[in-house]
Structures are given as C-alpha cells and as structure tokens.
Assembly symmetry: C2
Homo-oligomer: 377 residues x 2
Amino acid sequence: MTHWDEDKRARPLVGQYIETLKPYVPGKPIEELRRERGIQGEILKLASNENPLGPSPLALEAARAALLEGHLYPDGAAFVLRNRLSEYLGVDMARIVSGNGSNELLELIVRTFATSADHAIVSEHSFIVYRIILKSMNVPFTVVPAAADMGHDLVAMARAARSNTRLVFVANPNNPTGTYNGRAELEAMLSILAERPDPPLVVMDEAYFEFADAEDYPDSSRYQGLYPRIVALRTFSKCYGMASFRVGYAVATEEVAGYLHRVRAPFNTNRIGQLAAAAAVDDEDFLRRTLELNRVERARVSAALSDMGLEVVPTQANFVLCRTPLLASDLYDKLLDRGIIVRPLDGYALDHHVRISFGTPPQNNRLIEALREVLSP
Amino acid sequence: MTHWDEDKRARPLVGQYIETLKPYVPGKPIEELRRERGIQGEILKLASNENPLGPSPLALEAARAALLEGHLYPDGAAFVLRNRLSEYLGVDMARIVSGNGSNELLELIVRTFATSADHAIVSEHSFIVYRIILKSMNVPFTVVPAAADMGHDLVAMARAARSNTRLVFVANPNNPTGTYNGRAELEAMLSILAERPDPPLVVMDEAYFEFADAEDYPDSSRYQGLYPRIVALRTFSKCYGMASFRVGYAVATEEVAGYLHRVRAPFNTNRIGQLAAAAAVDDEDFLRRTLELNRVERARVSAALSDMGLEVVPTQANFVLCRTPLLASDLYDKLLDRGIIVRPLDGYALDHHVRISFGTPPQNNRLIEALREVLSP
C-alpha cells in the first residue's frame, strides 16, 4: 500500500517565481457576464479588440472545407500558410514561423533565446503578457519608464541594455496605449544595440500592424538587413477577425526562424486555422472594409470621448485608451450594468484608465450614449 | 547608420542544448508525398494513428456553429469544455486543464515543475517527444532500459529516481510500441516513489486510453488519492478523430492543475476546438464505432502480419509495431512507391521496425497486399 505524507515533503512543488505568478486577466466573455448578472438584452463587448465585422468570409469558407478532414494532423511545416505568406510578404518561407497565436511565439522566443541567467527589457504601460511570460520562465527583466505620450521610449530602452540582455520587447502600436514608435526612433534604438558585443533580439509585437497608418510607422519585417536580430510578430486575430482560430506568425532571419522551428511543438498551429489564415490573406476586400471602418470610427469615437471631457491617448490601433474622472473599476462596473464590456486597466497600475475597442457605428453610438449617462454629474 | 559586424559577436545566439536539438519528425503528410513522387491514385496514410472514420459528426456540427463567431477570443477558462469533461469524468472542473493538444500540456508540465537543476526519467522506446521537450528546456534526464516486451519497466524507472528527479514520463499504452503497464505495476512504482522526500510528478500520457481494453489497464485519473503527484493526459486527436483541432486535457489534483492554469497562455486552446471537443464527449455512437472497428481490425491485421513472418508486438492501441527483415527505411520507401505511408522507426533507433496505424477494412486489405508484395522473396 502506498504511503503518502504531505508534511514530510522537503521542497515546494514549484519555484517561487511560479508561486507568485499572477496570470493574465482576459476581457470578460459575453457568456460570463450573462451568467453573472442575468442580463437579458444584447451584450456589447468592446474589451478584446476583436473585429466588429466578424471573421473574414474567405477564411470561413476555407475553414468549413478543412473541417471535413478534421481527423488529420496539421501539416507540421504549415506549408500552405507559410507559402502564401511568403508570396504576400515577399519574404522567403524559411524566414516565417507560424504559431498558436502570436502569444505562443512570444513564449517560444523566450524559451529559445533566454534563460534565468539572462535579462530582458520591456516598457512601462506595454502589453503585460511579456512580463508574465518572462516571470513564468524566471528571466529577470527591467521595466523602462514610458515616454511622455505613455508609449515606449526606445532610446532609453536601448540604453538600459546590460551585458546579459538577450531580449527587448517592443509593441508597435502598443497595447493598451495605442501609441506607436516611428522609423527614426526604431533606427536610433537599433544603432545603439548593434554596438553591443551581444546585441539582444528585438521582438517587435505588431499585432495591430495593419491598423497603423502614420506616415513614419516602420515595418519591422524589413529591418533584418540592418539588424539581423529583429523579429516581427503578426496575427490573424485582429484585422482578419480570427481570434478564435489562434494563428500568428513571426518574420525573422532564416537563422532566428530556424531555431524557433527547432524548438516549437511539431503541430503547434491547428490545421483549420492554418488553412483559414492562408485564405484570409487573399481576402483583400474584407481587410479593406475592416481598415476603412476603423479609420472612420477611430476618429469619430476619439472626438466624442474628448468632447465628454475624457483624456484620450492618440491611437494607431483598433482601440483607444482614455483617462476617466471615475475609478476605472467603477466606470467598468456601471457599463457592465448596461450590458457593455470595456477593459479597466487597474491590472496595468492605471486606476483611472479604460481601454475601449472600436465597434460598428451603432455599437459605438451605444457606447457613447452609455458613457454620457454614466459620466453625467 | 547602424553598423552590424557578425564576427564580433561574443556569444552564440542559442545554448548548446538548442543548437544540438533534433526536432520531431511527423508522419509524412499526404500532400507532401503527392508533391514529391507525383503519385496519382489515392494515397493511404497509416502513419500518424489518425481515426479512419474521420472526425466525430457531433464535433463537426459544433465546429460549424463556432465558425460564425470566429472573430471572438476563446474563453480563456474553456468553461464549456471543462464543465462537460467534469461531468463526464466525475472530476471537479478545477482539476482539469485543456491544452493545444496534449503535446502542449507536456511542454507546460516541464516548464512549470522542472528547471535545468532538476532531472527527469523516461523509458527506452517511449514517445520521443518527452526527450525533445526536456532537451529543449535543458532538463537532464535518464533513459531507463525497456522491459522484455519493449514496454516500460515501471519499477526500474522508480528505482532510477534521484534526489532531484522532478518528472517521470509514462506512456500507457505506449507509442510506438503499443505496450501497456497494468495496475499492479503502476502501484508498485507509486509505492516506491511515495517514499522519497520529494516524490516526482508522474506524467501518465494516455493519448490511447480509450483503445486499451486489457482487464488490468489502470485509469490514472483515479490515482490522485493514492499519489497526489500523478497527472493523466488525454487527447481528442485519436478516438474522436480531431487531430486537426489540437485539443488535449490533463486531469490532476487541484493544486497541480492550478499551477498549470497559472503558467499556460490565456488563450492556449482555440475556441473551435474547445466547442467541438465538448460536443464530441456526447458522441457515444461515434466512439463506440471507432473502438469496435479498432478492436476487430487490430486482431485481424496483427494476425495477418504474423502470418507473413513479421514479429508483431501485442498492442493495446490503434497501431501496431512490427519488426521486418528489411531495413525499416527500405520497407517504408517501397510502400511509399505504392502510395502507402507508414512510420519507419529509425528515429527511435529501431532500424528494422515500422509502426502501422489501423485503417478501415479495405485500407487494411490494401496494406496487407502491398506488404505481401514487398516482402515476397
């Protein structure tokens, strides 16, 4: 008979870095709000930067066809998807790695290129997942204070590099601020880093790439000639409306991509997502409609929020960060009562900020009206 | 202008453990064989233990409905799936963790519970992915020689534990051998391990659980009372025909599951897979047909291969391992010419062994005929 005595255990089950890890808190799912508050009417979720037009129709068509062969393993090499992306981006297939959302690629990059003896750099107010992943793998990191616009200060980040800095994370545009860094600033950062004996890998998280239209917005998939240790991360979750499928990709040098391929799980990207994403690349009409809607509504909603007296951070993404006179958690709660889910940023130590995704014009009107009610004295 | 001098680099991009890592080689995809050899007729793939009946019809129906909300993020908590599994298994939801295939759960377990200062134990001839993951995370491991039947020697594995052994991997039934370990042997192993000051986590990979019908085959999701540090891993890839969806799950104590939830990515399981898998649990008819087909064909194909003079390893899974007089790579190649893909096991240091998945009766007849041709003197 097996004898188990918990009190005799000499060592805790996990290290302190995992014991104290606080997981990511996602936007509240619609079903959860309905269960919790018994809300009857239509619930409006503007909390996860999802595409208000739904998924790409060409992606859906390809997904339906793929279901019929649902019993087959994915192609481990994701040939169809990487081949299509290779043509679309004009980049050799060997330089592309697909992942289970760009989130998996972030994890894979940390696992592949850093250990607990190394060091990483992130920015204040940047996507919190970088810090969670680094902590979960016990990689120490420095948080560099944000610039005056709440975005990244790339030169300060470059100057914070130490002899063992292996990774620098840049979200461009950044989530949750919507801010961006231009070409000149990116190049200044890379110039400083290139002088180091061991230049760190610069991870450019471009989940909102397609929404950015600033004239000097840099495409980091074009910078490998200048600075070989730069990786661009993209996703099908946002502009192609495919968050449920979990498909992201990395563009890097063949060397960096080769190591990621070596370490990734053999079937890390599901087959339905691979084939749907490959079809989405051809859905130019859907992408055009998505970007046009966002361009118009971004300007209109930002102006309406400003008119209400909220401090709005200028955004290059499909969401906006604003500072409210109420506590973020209070504003969030009052909007929940009205069936609207936004994202309070207490988790980012921004107690008076909420992030709001842009919806369709009627959805945005409903949000603006609800906000007027909630904020009226 | 940025200046990049590759020769000045003081340190290689990755550690030696990644530089020397050999990734998993999956079964050859059908499309790849067609591209490579220009084969016109129907290609028969018996190389990845996929379900010859295709995907569960109830899963497909749920997947089609889920596609319409393809733009939404998955529920990070996978409520619908874990709730359904909780009822089905009679296990509290807090003890269940879903993953991007059970492969992701293997990675997650190593990341969560081991570091490069620890140690792991695997068996000779066991699923090679354990070793690849351990090596990719620089966790040292011991390979314990197999038992006489080519399966795991659980008592020898328990005796190989060191003071820093944190993980023991057991595949039951094992891939690629099809062998299994019975209740008495599992309990003997757990008794030895429970006496250690730091009993390791025993990872029971039960990807082929449903196919096993030996009377003394143990259900490791029932052993947490006896030995709290045991985890059962299951998958929807095989018996529900859902390999393309990437959904697996772990059953553990609430404590162990809690740490895995803490470390996993927020959206690690795609939404289509979550909802399709939840529906598959109800597809009793499909599961029954799958298991019945396998039971009959397992006996018939095993007998036919024996009759041909091949040494067949008795199997509890949906595939069979056999030793051939030809080199495995030669037999594989000759079958490829006939449009049939099997799995040569040179990668497992079994140069004369191939693994063959069971198909439908006509598929198995085609395989048997082709083998007769290839092996005839």
